[in-house]
Structures are given as C-alpha cells and as structure tokens.
C-alpha cells in the first residue's frame, strides 16, 4: 500500500474537496450497492450516480449493448426510477456508507433540468451535481443540448438558478461536436464550476447475420479504451482554453497510467466507467496505481501534476 500521509491526493471541484481524484462514471456503477460488495465506497473520491430524470424511465429495448474493438456501445436509454424514488432510496443508502455523492441529472427540456435542480436543493449530503447535457432536447427536434451552445447555456443557467447553495455544478459534454472548447466556454460562463469530459461518442454496429443494426435503439454510445485518445484531446484542448476550470476526465481509463495521462492533460479528477464492467475493482486499482505513479515521479500533491503536459 502506498503512503497516503505524505502525499496530498485531494482534489477540488467548486468549493468541495474530495479525498481522492478517482470517481465512478455516471451510469457505470449501478446504485453503488452492487460495487460495495467488492470495496468500500468511501475509498472513492465520489460516487457519480446514473443520470436521473424527473420521471421513471424504462429505458430502451434490448439488445442494449455491443462489444467493439477495445470498447462497447450502450443504448440503455437512461433507465431509472425517477428523482423522487431515487432520493428516497438511493441517496440515504449511499450516505449511510460514507460515500460522497455527485448526482447526475438529465432532462428532455430546460424545465426538467430546473425541476431536478429544485428537488436536489438543500440535500446536504450532496457533494455536487453533474449535469448530463448530452441528452436530446425534445423541444428542438431532439438535437442534443450539448451540441448547441445556446441550449447548453440555458440548461446550466436553469440549474444554477434553481439549485441554490454552493454545490459544485459540473457540466458533462459530448465529444460529438465541431468545437468542444466553445461549448465549454459557454457553460462555464453560464455558471458551471467544472466540466466532465467526455461522454460517449455516437456509434453503431451492424449485425451482419440479421442484416440490421445490432442495437434495438439503432445507435449507441461508444465508450472504453478505444475513445481514450479523443478524451485526452478534449481535456487538453479545454484545459488550454480554461486553465482554471476543474475537469473531471473520463473515457477508457483502466489503469493508473491512463488516469495520469488525463491529469497531465489537465484533469483534476478521473471517472472510471466501462473499465468497471471488465473488472469490478477497476476504480480501486486505478486509484492505487495513480498514487504510486505520482509519488514515484516525485510529486508532492495531485494539484502539482494537473496539466503539466502543457509545458
């Protein structure tokens, strides 16, 4: 085991400190209960919940997944119980385990995001809100919010207005845009304290035996090591443009080396998604390897390592 004492592994988003920079990725850690059989959730910097909607959602039909070279497609369709049941069941349980919770929220209209923010207001246990704006906007022909600077701004402003208090707001962006830096600037000026980079890339697999799309939902989100170079690039570009905004990096991280790539590129924290499917203890492995690497390279704190690849 590495020596935590002599090394400052903390990271900060908005006004909140987290004891370690390794978080789960939204939608990749269930309710927390599934993983707590394998490790203590308070070993993580934070648990980021599956994106929660206002109402219950069945999600999409199966098949919902396809494995791809060094990655996978998913098409879950934001299955979940809706915010009320989520607040009643999941949050108290996570709190009881000492987990620091970041709630990810998703809406189909600006008003839904506002409603979700209002419902989260005053929940002291929260360490932050991740605003998943890679969702189709039903009021604008299904165009994904984060593909549109105006809609992205409107969502973050609505959340900021309704949340109250000092929860950090982390805006999660889609990489499927021509200019991710301009979207990042937009949401930061609208009040986001941090950015989560990246959500999945839109992809597709054809089942050649059935001669139709493999997924019932036709397209799906591509995640896993395959997309890591795209994630590192997005983090690097955004950190260069907004060096003072903390970034939660994600996309294919499976080892401490991968996490360090993102931190050197400018991430203040790293979320573990798909890697957990291949290895339930992936997040703990990444955490320990990262700590070992940082110490062996002579860093005294995580903070000193953030963005060093920018020279």
């Amino acid at each position: 085991m590495s020596d935590f004492q002599s090394f400052d592994f903390r990271t900060k988003f908005g006004s909140r400190y987290f004891p370690s920079p390794i978080f789960t990725a939204s939608g990749c850690a269930g309710s927390g209960k599934e993983l707590s059989q394998f490790f203590d959730l308070d070993e993580l910097g934070a648990v980021v919940t599956k994106s929660i909607a206002v109402k219950p959602r069945s999600g999409r039909a199966t098949p919902r997944m396809a494995e791809t070279p060094s990655g996978m497609l998913n098409s879950i369709g934001l299955q979940g119980p809706g915010i009320d049941q989520f607040l009643a069941d999941d949050i108290p349980w996570l709190q009881s385990k000492g987990a620091r919770v970041i709630v990810s929220i998703s809406g189909e209209t600006i008003e839904e995001y506002a409603t979700l923010a209002r419902k989260l207001r005053g929940i002291n246990a929260l360490f932050g809100i991740e605003v998943n704006i890679s969702c189709p906007n039903v009021e604008n022909r299904g165009l994904v919010f984060s593909c549109d600077p105006v809609a992205s701004r409107a969502v973050i402003e609505a959340v900021r207005r309704n949340i109250g208090g000092d929860y950090p707001i982390i805006a999660k962006l889609s990489p499927d845009v021509t200019d991710i830096v301009s979207i990042a600037k937009e949401v930061v000026s609208a009040g986001a304290d941090g950015l989560a980079l990246i959500n999945t890339l839109l992809g597709m697999v054809i089942d050649i035996d059935a001669a139709r799309p493999k997924l019932a939902g036709v397209t799906g989100g591509l995640s896993g090591p395959a997309i890591r170079p795209v994630a590192v690039r997005a983090i690097f570009q955004v950190h260069a443009a907004l060096p003072n905004i903390p970034i939660l990096g994600m996309g294919g991280v499976t080892s401490g080396r991968d996490a360090l790539e993102m931190i050197f590129a400018g991430a203040s924290g790293v979320s573990i998604g798909t890697a957990t499917f291949g290895n339930p203890t992936a997040a703990i492995r990444v955490k320990e390897e990262l700590l070992g690497l940082l110490q062996s390279k002579g860093f005294k704190s995580l903070k000193d390592a953030i963005g060093v690849a920018h020279g």
Partner: protein, 292 residues
C-alpha cells in the same frame, strides 16, 4: 444489504480442460468461491488477457461446484466456443489463470416437499441442471430430464449426470440422437407420464418461451434461467434487462444478472427483444431517446 452478497473476485487456476462433443468441460480451482455457489448461479470471467481488445466479462453457468476435494474449492463450467471470448476461454491450458467473479445471480428455487420435477436443457443449457438434479434428488424429488440440441454433438449429457435422474430423454433436430425434434415435442407426454409438478429450464430464450407456454397450459410452476447479453454480470451496466411482471402486476425492465438468471417463467413478458412491452413502468413512447 448488498447486492451480489456472496460474490468475490479471484484469479483462479485452470485444473482441467477437456473437449466433450462441441463443448469444453473446464475445472477451476476457486477456493472459497465454491462455498456459496448454488445451481443456477453463474460466474463472470475476464477474457483475452493483457492488451486484449475485449473489454467485457463473459457469463457462464456453474455446472458443478465443490468445496471439498484435493484442490479445495472447485467450480466446473461447460463452455461453448461461440465467439472470440468464449473461444479464448476454451483454449486455456492447465495452470493458466483467469480472473473470475462469482457466484452471481439467482439460484433455482428448491421445493420444500419432495415433488416430481422435470428439467429441460437446450445445448449448454444442460450445464446447471445436473447440479440441480443432485440437490433435488437429495430432497427426495423425482427428477426427469430432457436435453435437446440441433445435433448430438451439442448435447451435453455426461455419464455421471445420469445417476441423479430417474429418466433422461434426448431430442435432436437432425434426429442424430434420441427423438427427432425439439424438447417441447416430448414435454407434454413426459409431464403427463411423470405427473410433473415443477419444470426447470435453461437454454435459448425461444426454447424457454416454448417451455413456458406448455407449463402454463398444464398450470405447473416453471423456473427458467434466462440469457440476455451481459456486459458486467454484476448489475452495474443495465444492459441485460428483461421485462418482468412483479407481484403487483407492474412490468419493469429488470437486470437478468441480479433478478435472474433464474426467474419465474410466468413473470416473463416473452418475445420482447427489440421492443419494450407496452405498459412497462416508465416506458416513453417519444421518438427521441437518449442512448445512454
């Protein structure tokens, strides 16, 4: 209360790997993982080794688990080399190690009374049924088994397995062994002949559905082990869902790795691949849908 309450993750050694018909019978030294394994449970295995392009785990039903013996705990699997991951697994040699998580999922419910049970397996779906037969026998049940496949090579029916059953019927679609046809062709007669009180089944979804229709016709209990594509096996990815009716009659998309693989056949909304059954809790009929 945790989910996956008895699961552990462990690097386990291959003790043996033998080709049997179309399958590989593999034995792993798993230590304490064998302790809580029940018929119906499965394990999830990482495939491909370091620098593999395969990032997801593969699920395999536990064929047999033993917590005694020369090697401490062992778990046995019957592996069909289907795609690249299962092929990789089937190619492991003695002393190789694989990363295994288990035991996972629900187990077959065991009746408290000695009843007449009929076990139905399709292809490698026979794997969990022999362990189940042993337990049922110990409880004094009558156990009949039907195993079907497209051809004889794809029926997994080890000699020692026969000891735990009263009768064994084989069906093959090409007529190469046993009765020519499908398992469901022989079920009605067997049910009548043996006064079957419960059916246990494991195999392809289409077979389970056909078995369930017969079970409902005869109004007997039906426990089936379903198979949906799984990415994680531990309940965190939500890819493996099937629509299940709960006691209140509400249909919800439930994870087959947590609420299953063994489920009550009468609770399954069959034929709902590629569509959400109407009336499912939270079903949105909107055109625009989020993909995550």
């Amino acid at each position: 209360m945790n989910i996956n309450p008895r699961a552990i993750q462990k690097s386990v050694e291959v003790l043996s790997n033998k080709k049997v018909g179309s399958y590989h019978h593999m034995v792993f030294s798993v230590g304490e993982m064998a302790l809580h394994a029940k018929p119906g449970n499965f394990v999830a295995i990482a495939v491909g080794g370091n620098s593999s392009a395969m990032v997801l785990r593969r699920a395999f039903a536990i064929y047999r688990a033993s917590d005694r013996g020369n090697f401490g705990g062992t778990i046995e699997l019957v592996v069909a080399a289907h795609g690249s991951g299962s092929r990789w697994l089937s190619e492991r040699a003695i002393h190789d190690r694989v990363d295994m998580v288990g035991p996972l999922g629900t187990a077959f419910g065991i009746p408290t009374e000695p009843v007449s049970a009929l076990l139905v397996g399709g292809g490698y779906g026979s794997a969990p049924l022999f362990g189940l037969a042993e337990v049922l026998k110990q409880r004094g049940c009558r156990v009949d088994i039907v195993l079907g496949a497209s051809n004889a090579n794809k029926i997994y029916a080890p000699l020692e397995g026969k000891r735990s059953v009263n009768t064994m019927t084989l069906t093959t679609e090409d007529g190469g062994a046993g009765v020519k046809g499908r398992v469901t062709d022989v079920l009605p007669q067997l049910i009548e002949k043996h006064n079957t009180e419960i059916i246990y089944s494991c195999g392809p979804m289409a077979m389970l559905e056909a078995v369930d229709i017969i079970a409902q016709r005869f109004e007997i209990l039906h426990q089936c082990a379903v198979e949906e594509s799984m990415a994680c096996g531990i309940g965190v990815c939500m890819t493996c869902v099937i629509p299940l009716k709960n006691d209140a009659g509400v249909i919800k998309m439930q994870r087959s790795c947590i609420e299953g693989p063994v489920v009550d056949g009468s609770k399954v909304i069959w034929g709902s691949s590629r569509q959400i059954p109407s009336g499912t809790w939270g079903h949105q009929s909107l055109g625009v849908q989020n993909h995550e």
